[in-house]
Structure formats: C-alpha cells, structure tokens
C-alpha cells in the first residue's frame, strides 16, 4: 500500500466556489446529485454534466488532481457496461417498449434501445463524479463536520466524521509501521505465500491495529469527556460561517435545477425516462 497517499488534495485556491460556506456546498451537492440520480433523461444529464465541468474549471481543479479517480471510474463504468449487456441485452427494449434491432452478435440482437439505455446509464453514473470531486476538493475538511451539523445531521454523528478525518492519517501511519514491525519479527509477507498464510498474515497486522485503536479510543474519549463533549444537546463550531448572498444564490440555483429536472419528468416525459422511440 502507498503510505504517502494523501487524504484529499484539498486545494487552497480562492475562487467563488471556495468562498461558499461548507453547508451551501453540501446542500448543493446533495440537490444536484439527487437530480441526476432521479432523472433518466439524457438531455438533462448531459446538461448537468456540462454545468459541473464548467464549475470544475471555475474552481481551478487541475487535471492531475483527478486523473487517478477518472481512471478508476472509467474502469468501473466499462466493466459495468459489458457485464450488464451480457446479463440483460433486452433491458432497453423492456424500458422503452419498442425494438429496433440493427445487428446480431453470437445470437444476441443489438437494439438501439439497448444502446440508448446503456449510453444514458453511462452518463448518469459519470455525471455525479464531477459534482463529488468539486465538493471534496474545494471544501476544507475542518468545515465538513460543521456543515453536516448545519444540514441537520446530529452533531455527534457529525463529530464522528470529523474524528475519522482527523485520525485517518494516524491510522494509516500505524498500519504501515505495524506491517514493518511484524516483518522484522520474522513474518513472511511476500505474495508467494499460500492463500491461507496470506490470510493469517493480514490478521497479524489487523489485530494489533485494532487493539491499539481500542486503547486510543479510551484515551481520546476521556480527553473529550474532560473537556465537556456531549454535555448538552447542541454545540457550536469554531469553523462555521454565516451564509452570504452568494451562498443563497447558489442554493436557489441548485434548488431550481432540481425542480426543473423533476418538472421535465412530470410534464414533458411523463415518466423518469426520456423516450425518443415513440
């Protein structure tokens, strides 16, 4: 594993998007994500995708920051496309209710409906990715927990997220050190070992990691109790920000986009699907 991996490469640029409060960004992210997850209309989905790519530009996100993620996403989407074709080549026909075959491979007929369904699905999956990236790469981790609390998540659950972000690098470093310490005690960890041995060996690392974490949980929760955590029903946040006019604007625009998506489905398509075949 790569010990040098960074959590998020949060970039400190000062753009319109960075200046939005964490709560705003979280709410907008959720509204827009919901919109693309709801809609099965490729026009809406592509529109949303173009919008989010423009936003990415505005946030000065560099390609190098997201290259690796894109590779993973593409691998995932292509595998999904292939498997889902072989599992159910008629899925498109079932959804759109017509059948326009244009070719045949190994006895399976290729239909335009299936192509359209799979292309739509491809973009539907893909279009949430830039939204997520913008949110992750422009939100200061410190602001994240207070934003969750700001949108109504219980503050204790929100603080659990803050603790995860705080201690992830520590856990990662511990894991690496334990891995090395075990090798120094004589543990063979090469990939040549048999399946069962490799399984046993990974336990030899996971067990100390967990037990040292249990000790640490005790110390941290004592430290938090001593400083009054969870004594009242609410708490304030050092990092929370007041909503500015820009925040309100962003929220309104996102809400309108969601309503628009729903309206397109209800009034124009009369279903979640856009059906060009009838």
């Amino acid at each position: 594993m790569n010990a040098k991996l960074k959590l998020f490469s949060y970039n400190m640029a000062d753009t319109f998007i960075h200046r939005l409060s964490g709560v705003t960004k979280l709410v907008c992210f959720l509204l827009l994500t919901f919109a693309v997850m709801f809609s099965y209309d490729i026009r809406v989905i592509l529109g949303m995708m173009v919008l989010s790519i423009i936003l990415m530009r505005m946030a000065q996100i560099r390609f190098s920051q997201i290259r690796l993620m894109l590779v993973y996403v593409l691998i995932f989407l292509l595998t999904n496309a292939i498997i889902s074709f072989f599992f159910s080549p008629e899925q498109g026909v079932k959804i759109y209710g017509t059948k326009h075959a244009f070719a045949e491979v190994w006895g399976i007929s290729l239909t335009w409906e299936q192509v359209f369904y799979q292309v739509t699905k491809f973009f539907k999956y893909a279009s949430v990715v830039p939204l997520g990236m913008i949110f992750l790469l422009t939100t200061n981790p410190s602001e994240f927990a207070s934003s969750l609390n700001g949108v109504g998540v219980n503050y204790k659950a929100a603080y659990a997220v803050a603790l995860t972000l705080r201690y992830f690098p520590d856990v990662q470093r511990d894991y690496h050190d334990i891995y090395l310490a075990q090798q120094a005690r004589g543990l063979e960890l090469s990939s040549k070992a048999k399946f069962f041995d490799r399984f046993k060996n990974s336990l030899l690392i996971v067990i100390p990691l967990i037990f040292s974490t249990l000790d640490r949980i005790e110390v941290i929760s004592n430290a938090m109790d001593l400083r009054g955590f969870s004594k009242s029903k609410t708490r304030t946040w050092y990092t929370s920000r007041k909503l500015s006019r820009q925040d309100v604007l962003a929220l309104v625009v996102s809400a309108v986009l969601l309503l628009f998506t729903v309206a397109v489905s209800v009034f124009i398509n009369r279903s979640r699907f856009y059906n060009p075949f009838i």
């Binding site: 981790p141 640490r216 990092t239």
Partner: protein
C-alpha cells in the same frame, strides 16, 4: 493556612473493578488554593489513578469501589459529574496526540467552548487571546502532523486554560518531550501559576526537570500510600527518594559521592538555590581524586551510514547527508530535538524505509538488498510506540512470538521467555493480558520481545519513557551486561541522564543533520550544540561552576566514571 482546602482527601480508598487489591489506600491529603504541587512515585504506584479521582474519570469512566471522601471546593465529588468537575479541574493528559482532537490548532483550543455553545464570533476572539498566551497564535490553522511535540503540548495547555478552571492537573507533561521543550513546558506552567494563581498539580517521573522552577510541596506515593509530603529542600535531603526508587537530582548524587552530607539548610531542592559554601571544597577534592579512564573502543566497524539522505514525501528532507560509523560492542546514544529524525534513522537501519541516497554498511558491506526480515536477524529494533509492536493479547505469547516464527522448540521458548521477563521486571505479570498494563509496563514488554531474540545489534527508541528509576536501572544494567558480551547497543533518547550514564558516545541530530558525534559528556557542555539540538546543560556542569571547578566537562566525565566504578564493584 486559614483558607479552606480546595482539594481534600479524607481516608480515601479506591479499588479498580478488576483488581484484587485497592490501588489507593487510605489517602489523607489537603491542597490549598494557589498551591503548586508535584506528585512523584514509582511506575504503577497510583499517581494517575489519584489524578483520575480528581478529574472525575474515576468513577465516571473507570469502574471501581470508592471508600472515604474526596471534596473539591467543599463539594463531595461523587455527587458531581464529570462535566461539573471539568469546569473546576482542567486536565492535560500524558498523551498529547490523544488529547489533540481537533483537525487544526484553532479548533482544538476551541473544543471546550464549542461544547459550551459559545457563539462562533466570541469563540474566535477567546481562542486568539489564549493562543497568544502560549505563543501559538501564528499556527492556528496548522494540523497536528505539522506540529512538533512541544507545540502539541502548548496546544493542549491552551485547550484547558480557555475554560478558566481553578485547578490544573498535568499527568506526565514531560514524557516524550526533548529536554529544552520540557524545560519550556515547566516554565510555561510556572508562568501560568504566577500570573493566574491557579492551583497546579504535576505528576512526573522527571523530578529534577520539574524542580527547574519552584514547587510548594512534593508528594511521594508508593504502592498506593502517601509516603511523604515535604518541600523540595527537605525531600531532596531526606532518604525518601532513594528508598522509594526515585531518581534524585544528579547534583545531589554528586555531592553525596564527594562525601558531603546534604541537609535542607543547603537548600538543595533546586540547583539555583543550592548553597555550596560548605561543600565546594569537598567537591574539588573529590574531583581531583577521581580517575577518568575511558578505554577507547578499537573494534572493527559493525554498522555505518555514508552520506545517507531521506525524505518521506519526496519534498521535505528528513535526514540529510548522515555519516557515522559504529564499532562492534559500542554503546551509542542518538539524541536531538523532537522531529529531528531520530526514529527515522532507526527505520532506515532496519530497512523499514529505503534511503534516497547514500549507503548503509554492515561490517563494511552494503545492505541495500537485504530485506526487513534478513536485517532483523542481525538488528533488533524496539520502536518508540509500544502499541505498534504488540500483536498478541497475552504477555507470554507476545514475547514468544518472534521465537515461534523462527521455529524454536517450545521448551526452549519457555525458558528463554521466562529469563527475559525476569530481567524486564515482568515476571509477576506473566499470565496477565497486556491490556491491564500501564504504559511503562507495556514498553517493557516490547523490550523483552526483542531481547529474547538475541540480536547482534540492538536499537532502542526511547526505552525509558514512562519508566521509574528502579526498572530503568534494571533494564539498563542488563543492556550493559549483554553489551559486554559483544552486543552493540544504540539508544535513542531524550533522557540526558541516560545518555551520560550509559553511553560513552553520542550522536546528535538537529534538523535532519548530524551536528555532533563525540563523548556524551562533551556534548552536554557545548553551548552551541545544546542550543541547536534542544538539549539541556546537565546540572552537574552547573554544580562544577558553583564549586569553582573550571573543567566542567572533565567533572561530568569523572562523575560518570566514578558511578560506573561503583556499579561494577
């Protein structure tokens, strides 16, 4: 004192749920507002337990049985809860990493205010003010990984001070701090005491370091009983420290060697108050008498680094151009500031990390291609953090693990493990689970688990952290013994006493570079090195000056040789 006590233990006894015996017995103790108290005692004597009773972790977080009474500001603590107590008692835990819960310094300082629903704007103002008091105002948005040990400690301090509590409790504030940062920590605590008149309790093994600034009383605990409650001068001149296995200040030991009877009239509690009118002459005589004879080690080289550089992230160098050569059978210490790269150096030697440039030689041969496992046959490393090494729930199995992996027959294992457990003072706990041990005891388990493998070269990263004098001496004497049989020992330490006493040679790191490599006694008298590497001048040196002995270095060396002579007899 006419004022009522702020803390009052009355026939107080406490027994942990899982223990067969009480840990605190019949404690009677009164502490008055504005006092500054130091609590000392051997490892496992119940110091932290006493602290937990004050801040409410007992009985809130640790189950057990309480008898007698404990009143804070006149209120019985068992009627309060931990939140009410946290308004009165602020605790700085030993583990500054565990204490640091925020993602940044600012958030961490603000933590208590956040929980109190203080509005954000007001919170920022107060954080800025407190941060300034501990000199952290320029680092408010730094994350814990970017901070040194000392800076984390300052953050913890600010985090409890922000709540304006009346009592501050510090549990081993100096463990893991380099000597200079430790000194600063004591100064900050003292400044807070002088400025705010808060009641302050410090639990600490490093007696001499705490006595750098004045304390009103020292309370000695052993085995759950209060053994003594004296001022520093009386304590140091009594037999209490020696009897309870606590390290007395070095300059006091030197005075005793010189045949001086240390009395409380000499004000020996602090080196700054010590009067040497009566003893100066005796010291001079003794100094002349001591023969210094450090035989030079002329064995062939066993481990060397040549121009080694390393960085974790490829950007910030952690070690630069390191060169050294360690001879077979040497005992060497590596010292330097927090974050200087000492632990990193040990990881490179064991192959945990790979050097970016340069070579590491074992008996003159480059070991670049040797795997971690192969290196481990030669070099044993005891890591700084015991939790990273422990992988079995039971003590015996943990120590036996390495032997089992090397397919040693089970009867031999039992014998070897028993012997090592005895050396490390763990024999009584042989069948205990590791989770029931104190920090110091866990550290000894990891030392045992490496010692049992009989490595040719032994590297110990902070072996004495959290250890009391008695156990520390036992372990160190064992190391000396195996060192005589030819094992090379490298100690990474912040403990200047340890370096002076046991390692003739010291390698000093600062900012990733080697800045000195010479006799330990010379290191500690070189003002430039001391400043650059955050070390601290030994009190022996100050004593020599007080007694009008000009060659301070030789005086220090003489002390060490004399002590070694005593031990070898």
């Amino acid at each position: 004192m006419s004022e009522p006590a702020i803390i009052e233990f009355d026939h107080f006894t406490f027994q942990y749920y899982s223990q067969a015996e009480p840990t605190l017995h019949d404690i009677n103790l009164k502490i008055y507002p504005g006092e500054k108290i130091l609590i000392v005692g051997p490892s496992g004597s119940g110091k932290s337990t006493l602290g937990h009773c004050l801040n409410g972790l007992i009985p809130f977080a640790y189950r057990g049985e309480i008898q007698g009474s404990l009143k804070i500001q006149g209120l019985e603590t068992r009627d309060l809860d931990i939140f009410k107590l946290s308004k009165v008692v602020g605790t700085v835990l030993q583990d500054s990493d565990g204490q640091f819960v925020g993602l940044t310094v600012g958030e961490d300082i603000a933590f208590a205010l956040e929980n109190d629903n203080v509005p954000t704007a007001q919170m920022r103002e107060r954080v800025a003010k407190v941060a300034q008091m501990v000199d952290m105002d320029s680092l408010l948005s730094s994350s814990p990984f970017e901070l040194s040990g000392g800076q984390k400690q300052r953050t913890s301090l600010a985090g409890v001070m922000i709540d304006d509590v009346d009592i501050l409790l510090f549990d081993e504030p100096l463990a893991n701090l380099d000597p200079a940062t430790g000194k600063t920590a004591i100064e900050i605590i003292d400044d807070i005491h002088k400025r705010s008149h808060k009641t302050i309790l410090i639990i600490e093994h490093r007696l001499e370091d705490v006595l750098h600034r004045g304390v009103d009383r020292v309370i000695v605990i052993n085995d759950g009983h209060i053994i003594a409650d004296l001022n520093a001068h009386e304590l140091v001149s009594s037999a209490v420290l020696v009897d309870n296995g606590i390290r007395e200040p070095l300059y006091v030991t030197a005075l005793k060697y010189a045949g001086v009877k240390v009395t409380s009239e000499m004000k020996p509690g602090h080196i700054t108050t010590l009067s040497t009118e009566l003893s100066g002459h005796a010291l001079q005589l003794w100094h002349e008498k001591v023969k210094t004879a450090a035989p030079e080690n002329r064995n062939p080289s066993v481990l060397a680094m040549e121009n080694v550089s390393f960085s974790y992230d490829g950007k910030r160098p952690v070690l630069q151009e390191i060169n050294f050569d360690i001879r077979e059978g040497e005992m060497v210490s590596v010292v330097g500031k927090n974050g200087a790269g000492k632990s990193t150096l040990s990881k490179l030697l064991c192959g945990f990390e790979k050097e970016d440039r340069g070579r590491i030689l074992y008996r003159g041969e480059d070991i670049r291609d040797k795997s971690i496992k192969e290196r481990a046959e030669i070099i044993g490393l005891v890591m700084q953090n015991p939790n990273q090494m422990i992988s079995k729930p039971m003590i015996f199995d943990e120590v036996a693990l390495g032997l089992r992996m090397r397919q040693v027959p089970e009867e031999q294992i039992a014998e070897r493990v028993d012997k090592v457990l005895k050396v490390c003072g763990l024999a009584p706990f042989k069948s205990w689970p590791i989770s029931a041990l104190s920090y110091g005891q866990k550290k000894r388990v990891t030392i045992a688990s490496i010692l049992v493998l009989d490595p040719k070269i032994l590297i110990l990263d902070e072996p004495t952290a959290g250890q009391d004098f008695r156990h520390y001496t036992e372990i160190m004497e064992f190391l000396v013994e195996i060192n005589r049989m030819g094992v090379t020992v490298i100690l990474i330490t912040h403990d200047m006493h340890l370096m002076l006493e046991y390692t003739p040679r010291a390698i000093v790191l600062a900012g990733g570079r080697k800045i000195a490599d010479t006799a330990a006694s010379v290191v500690l008298t070189d003002a430039e090195v001391i400043r650059e590497a955050n070390l601290k001048e030994t009190s022996l040196f100050a004593l020599a000056q007080l007694a009008g002995i000009p060659e301070g270095t030789r005086f220090v060396q003489g002390f060490i040789d004399y002590e070694r002579g005593l031990k070898n007899r």
